[in-house]
Amino acid sequence: MANFLVWCVWVGAAFCCLASALAVVSFSNPFFSALALIGNLASLAVLYLLLGGEFVAAAQVLVYGGAVMVMFLFVIAYLGDKTDQAPWASGPSWQAAATVLAAAAILTEIIVAVALSTGGGLAHSRPISGSFGSPASIGRLFLTDHLIAFEVTSIVLLVAAVGGVVLGSHARSLEGDARS
């Protein structure tokens, strides 16, 4: 019974995930694309929960959905009209064919790799404890094994913040030039 339930949840989440991803790629209006991405993030959070990553799921929704997507929507709203130009790719047809070919090749290769290399070994996962993926264990790992990653990430975030400020200030001085 529990198995069946899990399977149902999985199928639903997977379906939403793929549908919203396709929607992101194919809508012409970027606003709708951004909304579709939010749906994608939500379904992914469900999948993370199924895999035992509670903290990651929460972080996904909070960080991605709450911060990143809000930023996106902000910018799309700010730019308004300017975002509605020439949505689809043009160029020589051989490029389109090559694109499809490359994408298909990558997909096939990954599937083959997963199937071949593991040879069914992925079917049996190790048992996990109850505190798998809990904030406590994630926190402990961050502060012991992966401390450097933790610190470097914070520096990267700082740099990005500075970069954002700089880009914003550039825009202001340029606006001043455009007016004068």
């Binding site: 160029g91 490029q95 090559a98 490359a102 090749a105 990558i106 290769e109 790799a113 071949l116 290399s117």
Partner: protein, 629 residues
């Protein structure tokens, strides 16, 4: 160090020090000072040679050869060659001739080249030449001789091309050098064969260990003969000598009359054991000498440049020396070499006085009747002419006749040589008196009347020119008394330990030869007098083109060697150089430009294509990783 060895070194190094001093001194020395340095050192060399000679006289005949070495020049495995000087009877004779006549000629040049722009360079080269020639005759092994051989060729090149602004002079210098280089190559090949066979190059060992007969001996002798023929301007390597008259007159006297061109004769006499091992080559040498003396005599009959007549005369007289060396009459050949040095230098230097007096004119057709204006020169020129023709008691009589007499001792081949030598004597008389009469006889030509100028004072030319010519005239008169047949032959005795003649003529043969050659010489002179003597010039038949063109040897060589080389060079330039070599570089750069243009189209600025490239790369790499697991 013994006196003889010290004298040998002084003799060799004095002219070299003059060359070095003049070269290093440059403009710090006055022009006159350079001339004085050069002639003084040559006189010092002569004094050293005299000292060595005097010391050698005191020693018994068999023990007169002295060698002295300084350092090892070349040591390769079992081969060992040193800087060895040999002072023996033959080399001291050559030292005396070279240094003696050389010092007179260098002293003459002080007056002749006075006022030239490049006088210092001239005297440096003259000293270099004297050093090289002395090195050649004093060397104790064949390698050093080859070094001296090459250096005299170099000095000759430098001095022929002395008037650098004249293209004819440069061309003549190149021609002389290239032809001599051919001879140097054959000589080097002979030396290689000798080293291969004997492992040594010093004279004593080479002569005792060389192959006695067979192909190897013939090849060695042939190689040496090639060098001798090139240096001495015999057929077939003779065409450079008439052109070499582009050099200043003292150069023609010293290098191309008295010393360098006689180096071939010296070589044959010095290495006569090697030649005696190959009789065929000896006969070849004599034959070439005979052919040359006849051909040169004929050509000299029609030449109109005063120096060219004397040049062909030199070629002819060296032919006599080759005949003498080829039949084994080595002392006779050396004797003729000595007397020839005197009277040929005399002829050249007095011609130089005439040329100076006429302001550089050398064409005989414009001369005439200069005897009244230049009596001294006329007198010494007459002495030289008589010595050349071989009229007793002048020097040429004794030396030439000893060679002609020796040909009678060699059977049928010798008799042919005898006939040719007599014909040559007739021609010598003819062209010599012709030259004398055209220059000095008859009425004064208009050209001479206009252009003749003498320096102020009683002398006809600069003092140094006058006294040196006088000394040479005395030499040309008395030098012949050194040897006369079997009656009185100190020279043969002197040279016997080194170069004993293969056969000696009897008194009867000497008498026959003398009478015949003198008679024919006088006959030639009388024919010349009939044609060219007298006050009025007679109408003469036009000279044969064959003779004027020198039997077309130059044209033959141009057709065989020069023209094909020229065609090959042009062909290569057009079909290989332009399209392949130069064109390939152009094609290479064009290809690169095209290729880089095509490659540049990849960078079109579109982010999408770059990402596509990355994605494709990832796909390919994934395949690679999967397949190599």
């Amino acid at each position: 160090m013994r006196l003889i060895d010290a004298a040998a070194w002084v003799c060799l190094l004095a002219p070299l020090s003059a060359c070095a001093a003049i070269t290093l001194g440059g403009e710090r020395l006055t022009r006159r000072a350079c001339g004085v340095i050069s002639s003084a050192t040559t006189v010092v060399a002569f004094a050293a040679a005299v000292a060595a000679f005097a010391r050698m006289l005191a020693e018994p005949g068999g023990r007169r050869a002295h060698t002295t070495s300084s350092w090892t020049w070349l040591q390769a495995g079992k081969y060992h060659f040193g800087l060895t000087l040999l002072t023996d009877q033959l080399s001291v004779m050559m030292m005396l001739i070279v240094a003696g006549v050389g010092s007179l000629i260098v002293a003459y040049s002080v007056g002749y080249m006075d006022g030239e722009d490049e006088e210092r360079r001239y005297f440096a080269y003259m000293s270099l030449f004297v050093f090289s020639m002395l090195l050649l005759v004093q060397s104790g092994n064949l390698l050093l001789l080859l070094a001296g051989w090459g250096m005299v060729g170099l000095s000759s090149y430098l001095l022929i091309g002395f008037y650098q602004q004249r293209p004819e002079a440069i061309a003549a210098a190149k021609k002389a050098f290239v032809m001599n280089a051919f001879g140097d190559a054959t000589m080097a090949l002979a030396l290689f064969l000798l080293i291969e066979h004997t492992g040594r190059l010093d004279f004593a060992s080479v002569f005792s260990h060389a192959p006695r007969h067979g192909t190897l001996a013939t090849l060695i002798a042939l190689g040496l003969l090639g060098g001798a023929v090139a240096k001495s301007a015999q057929i077939p390597l003779h065409t450079w000598l008439p052109d070499a008259m582009e050099g200043p007159t003292p150069v023609s006297a010293l290098i191309h009359a008295a010393t360098m061109v006689t180096a071939g004769v010296y070589l044959i006499v010095r290495t006569h054991p090697l030649f005696e091992n190959a009789r065929a080559v000896e006969d070849l040498a004599a034959g070439l000498g005979a052919a040359t003396l006849l051909m040169a005599g004929l050509i000299a009959l029609v030449q109109v440049d005063i120096k060219r007549v004397i040049a062909y005369s030199t070629m002819s007289q060296i032919g006599y020396m080759f005949v003498g060396a080829g039949i084994g009459a080595y002392p006779s050949a050396m004797f003729h070499l000595m007397t020839h040095a005197f009277f040929k230098a005399l002829l050249f230097l007095s011609a130089g006085i005439v040329i100076h007096a006429l302001g550089g004119e050398q064409d005989v057709r414009r001369m005439g009747g200069l005897g009244r204006a230049l009596p001294f020169t006329r007198a010494v020129f007459a002495v030289g002419t008589l010595a050349l023709v071989g009229v007793p008691p002048f020097a040429g009589f004794f030396s030439k006749d000893s060679i002609i007499a020796a040909t009678l001792t060699r059977g049928a081949f010798g008799d042919c040589l005898f006939a040719v030598c007599l014909a040559g004597a007739f021609l010598t008389g003819l062209y010599s008196l012709r030259l004398y009469l055209l220059v000095f006889g008859g009425a004064q030509s208009e050209f001479a009347a206009e252009h003749l100028h003498r320096p102020a004072g009683r002398l006809e030319a600069a003092p140094s020119m006058i006294w040196t010519v006088a000394v040479l005239a005395v030499g040309a008169t008395v030098a012949g008394f050194l040897q006369f047949a079997e009656v009185w032959h100190p020279l043969t005795t002197w040279l016997a330990p080194v170069a004993a003649p293969l056969s000696e003529a009897t008194n009867r043969q000497e008498a026959v030869a003398s009478v015949a050659s003198v008679g024919l010489g006088l006959a030639g002179m009388s024919v010349a007098y009939a044609l060219y003597g007298g006050a009025q010039p007679r109408r003469l038949p036009r000279p044969l083109a064959l003779l004027v063109q020198g039997f077309y040897w130059d044209q033959l060589y141009a057709a065989i060697f020069y023209r094909p080389a020229e065609l090959a060079a042009q062909g290569l330039a057009r079909f290989v150089e332009a399209p392949l070599i130069a064109g390939s570089i152009g094609e290479l750069s064009r290809g690169f430009r095209l290729g880089s243009g095509e490659l540049g189209r990849v960078q079109n600025g579109l982010v999408r294509s770059y990402v596509l490239a990355i994605a494709s790369g990832v796909a390919v790499l994934a395949v690679v990783f999967l397949s190599t697991r």
